[in-house]
Amino acid sequence: MFKIVRRRDLNPTVIMMDIEAPLVANKAKAGQFIILRVDEEGERIPLTVAGTNKKEGTVEIIFQVVGASTLLLAHKQVGDYLQDFVGPLGEPSEVEGFNKVCVIGGGAGCAIALPVARALHENGAKVTSIVGFRNKDLVILEDEFKEVSDEYILMSDDGSAGTKGLVTNALEELLKKGEKFDRVICIGPLIMMKFVCLLTKKYNIKTVVSMNPIMIDGTGMCGCCRLTVGGKVKFACVDGPDFDGHEVDFDEAINRNKMYRDFERKKYEETCNLFKKEVK
C-alpha cells in the first residue's frame, strides 16, 4: 500500500499528489511514468511522473479527472493509501546536450511538460516554455514553469489568460522572428501535438512528443499501447513514451484513444452517482 502524503488541487479538475514510494522516487527520471490502482478492484492507471523527492521518498503525480478511476482517485485524501503504485516505467526523456529548447504544454499535459523543462534547465539548456489552456480558471503550474524557463508564454483559447490563441500561434511567431531551437518538446492533447509537429516539420526542427495511449500492464506485455511510428509498430510503454513527432501516425493514435469512450462515459456517470448518493 502506498500512502498519500500531500495533496494540492491545481484547478477544479487537476489534482497534484505526493505518494510515498521510495523505490520509485529513487529511480524516476523526467519523462517516465508510473501505474497505479486506487483499490483492489481498480483499473491500472498510467500517469507520468511530475516530480520526485528522493530524500522524502515521494513521487509527485498530477492527474485530471477524466473518468471513473480518476474520479475515485480524486476522492482520496492525505493519509489515505493507494493499492498499487509501480514504476518508473518507460524510457526517460532526452534532456542533455541542448542549447535552446522550446517546451510546449497543453492543458493537463503541462504537468508532464514541467519536469522535462526542469530537467533541461538543470542540464544547462535555455528553455522557452509555451503553455496553453482553454481559459484562466484552468491555468496550472505558472510559478513552477517560470522558475525553470528563460521565457514563459501563456496562451488561452478565450484570451482570459495570457495571449488569446493556440500554442502553435505562439511558436510560429517565435520561429518567424528567427528564433532557433535545437529541439521542440511537446506534451498535451494528441490534436495539439499533431499540429505542433506539422508546424515544426515546415521549419525542420526535430520535435519529440510524449504519447499517452491506453495501457494495461505498462511493462511490454499486452500490446494495447501500440502506435505506428515511422511506419513501424512501437509500444509506448517500453519503446516510449517519447517519440519523434514527425514520425508518429497521430490520426491512428487519436482513433485508438476513442476505443472505450462509451464504456468510460457510462462508468464515469455510475461513479458520479455513487458519490452523490454518499453525500446524501
Binding site: L23, V24, K27, R37, E41, G42, E43, R44, A68, S69, Q83, D84, F85, V86, G87, P88, L89, I216, D217, T219, G220, M221, C222, G223, C224, R226, L227, T228, V233, F235, V238, E252, N255, R256, K258, M259, Y260, F263, E264, K267
Partner: protein
C-alpha cells in the same frame, strides 16, 4: 494393493460442465474426478518396474508411487510425493499437456484404441483433495542464511522459489504486476484454471517462507546489479515472454484488434468479464482469432463466453495446430468455428476506425517445410471477406526487453531470448540464472517449471561451492 488391475482400455472420462451451459459462464469446465473415479483410474496403473511415465515428466514426479498411495486411499501421502517434485500440483494437474509428456510414455496407451492412465486427472484429484482437506500448513525450513532473488512470479519463478525455500534459502520473488502468478493469472482463463487455486499455491510458498513483492519491475524499480548489492547471492530470471507479435498486415491497429495477451489480460487479470469491472473489453458479435496454439483457444473461448460467435483462423490444417487436443476438442464442443487452411491478408475498418471485417485467403498444403509440416501456400484468387467486429491476434510473443536492456553482460540471442544452459539455467553472468519463456520464447507452463527446477538445483550447487 488390489490383487487385480483394472484392464479397461480407455481412461475414465473427465466429468465436465455441459458445453451449452459452460459456453455462457466462466466457471471451471472440467469438474475433476470423484473419489470413486480416481480409485478406478488408479487401478489402471500397472506399476511398471521401469516407469517410463516419470521420464516423460519435465519435473520427474514419482508417478507410480503417488498412484500407489491413491490405491491405498492415502491421498495426503500421494500429495506429499507429488509435492516433493512439483511446487504447483493443482496447476499442473490442470494445464500440463500430459498427452505429450507422462501419458505419452504410459504402456497402457500403446496399441490401437488404448488410452494411457489418466495421470494428469489423478494429479489434479490429489492436489484438490489436499486443498480441500488438509489443514497442515507448509513449514518454513531452518534458514541457511543465503538470499536468492527471483524475477517474475510465473510458473518458472514460483517453482524455483519453492525448491530453494525447501532447501532453506531466503527467497524473495519480485513481480511486475499487482498479482503473483504470471501467465497463470493474466493468461490462462478462469474456466481452465480458477484463480483461487493459483492464489492458494502462492500462499503455500509464502508459508514456506518465500517473500513475494508485487509492483516491482526488475530492470526499472530495481536492477539486477542492485539486487546483488543488496546481498542477494544469486538471481533467477523468469520474466516470461512479453511483447505480442502481429502479422504486419494492413488495418492491424484499427480499434477492435487485440493481441491475445491484451484480450486475455483484460478478461482474466482485470476481470473484465464481470459486470462491475472497471476495465473495459469488447463485447462483440463476431470475433475472429488468428492462430492455432493454446493461447488462441483460450482467447476464442473467452470471446465466446462474452457472447460472440467465434471463428478461429489458422493457416494450416487442424491436425497441425500446436494447441492441446483437449483444448481444441473443448472449443469445438462449445461451438467455436474452425476456419482452417485460411490466412488473413488485410483487416478492414468502418468509417469510425473500428474493425468491420477481415479479408482472408484460402490455403492449401504444399511440400514439407523446415518444421516437417507441410507448408501452407495461398490459393490464388480465393480471397473472401469475413464480417467481424473484433479480431484477436494469437501469434506468439517475443521476450520482454526490459531485463536485457538494463543488465550489462547478460547475453541474448537474435530473438531477444536470454541465452542459458539447458541443464542448469546458467547465463553469461555469474550468479544469474534464467528459465521459462524468457529463455525459450513462448512455451508451456510445465517446461517453464522444469527450467525453474533445474535452476534451483544449479543455484544450490553454486552457492555451496562458492561458500566452501
Amino acid at each position: 494393493m488390489p490383487a487385480k488391475f483394472n484392464m479397461r482400455p480407455d481412461k475414465n472420462k473427465m466429468p465436465s460442465q455441459d458445453p451449452k451451459e459452460r459456453a455462457k459462464n466462466f466457471k471451471e469446465v472440467a469438474l475433476g474426478y470423484t473419489e470413486e473415479l480416481a480409485l478406478d483410474e488408479a487401478n489402471r496403473c500397472l506399476h511398471c518396474p521401469k516407469p517410463l511415465c516419470v521420464e516423460g515428466c519435465p519435473v520427474s514426479i514419482d508417478i507410480p508411487n503417488f498412484i500407489a498411495k491413491i490405491k491405498e486411499k492415502d491421498y495426503e501421502g500421494a500429495y506429499q510425493i507429488i509435492h516433493k517434485s512439483s511446487s504447483l500440483p493443482a496447476v499442473c494437474g490442470r494445464v500440463c499437456p500430459q498427452e505429450s509428456q507422462c501419458e505419452s510414455k504410459c504402456v497402457r496407451g500403446k496399441g490401437p484404441n488404448r488410452e494411457p492412465v489418466g495421470i494428469g486427472r489423478l494429479e489434479r484429484f490429489v492436489a484438490d483433495w489436499h486443498m480441500n482437506n488438509s489443514t497442515e500448513k507448509a513449514v518454513k525450513p531452518q534458514s541457511n542464511g543465503h538470499k536468492i532473488a527471483i524475477v517474475g512470479a510465473g510458473p518458472s519463478g514460483l517453482t524455483c522459489a519453492g525448491d530453494l525455500a525447501k532447501l532453506g534459502y531466503e527467497v524473495s520473488v519480485f513481480e511486475a504486476l499487482h498479482k503473483a502468478g504470471g501467465v497463470l493469472v493474466y493468461g490462462i482463463p478462469e474456466f481452465r484454471l480458477p484463480k483461487v487455486i493459483v492464489q492458494k499455491e502462492v500462499e503455500n510458498l509464502i508459508d514456506l517462507g518465500v517473500k513475494v513483492y508485487t509492483d516491482t519491475v526488475i530492470g526499472r524499480t530495481i536492477t539486477i546489479d542492485e539486487l546483488f548489492e543488496q546481498g542477494f547471492e544469486a538471481v533467477f530470471v523468469g520474466s516470461g515472454a512479453g511483447l505480442p507479435k502481429f502479422m504486419g498486415i494492413k488495418g492491424e491497429n484499427l480499434n477492435g484488434v487485440y493481441s491475445a495477451n491484451e484480450f486475455l489480460t483484460r478478461t482474466n487479470l482485470m476481470k473484465a468479464y464481470t459486470e462491475d469491472s472497471e476495465t473495459p473489453i469488447a463485447h462483440s458479435k463476431v470475433v475472429a482469432v488468428v492462430g492455432g496454439g493454446n493461447v488462441a483457444m483460450d482467447a476464442a473461448r473467452c470471446a465466446l463466453r462474452l457472447g460472440a460467435e467465434v471463428h478461429i483462423i489458422y493457416r494450416r490444417d487442424i491436425e497441425e495446430m500446436p494447441a492441446r487436443k483437449e483444448e481444441i476438442h473443448h472449443a469445438q464442443e462449445e461451438g467455436i468455428i474452425f476456419d482452417t487452411l485460411n490466412n488473413p491478408v488485410e483487416v478492414l475498418g468502418d468509417e469510425n476506425g473500428h474493425v468491420c471485417g477481415v479479408k482472408v485467403i484460402k490455403m492449401q498444403l504444399g511440400e514439407p517445410d523446415a518444421s516437417g509440416r507441410r507448408r501452407p501456400v495461398p490459393v490464388e484468387g480465393s480471397e473472401y471477406v469475413l464480417p467481424i467486429d473484433c479480431l484477436i491476434m494469437a501469434l506468439g510473443t517475443s521476450p520482454n526487453p526490459l531485463i536485457k536492456k538494463t543488465t550489462k553482460g547478460l547475453e541474448t540471442n537474435d530473438h531477444g531470448c536470454i541465452i542459458a544452459k539447458e541443464e542448469t539455467g546458467e547465463t553469461s553472468r555469474v550468479g544469474v540464472y534464467a528459465g521459462g519463456d524468457a529463455v525459450t520464447g513462448a512455451a508451456t507452463v510445465i517446461l517453464a517449471m522444469g527450467a525453474g527446477k533445474k535452476a534451483a538445483k544449479a543455484i544450490d550447487e553454486y552457492i555451496k561451492s562458492k561458500n566452501k
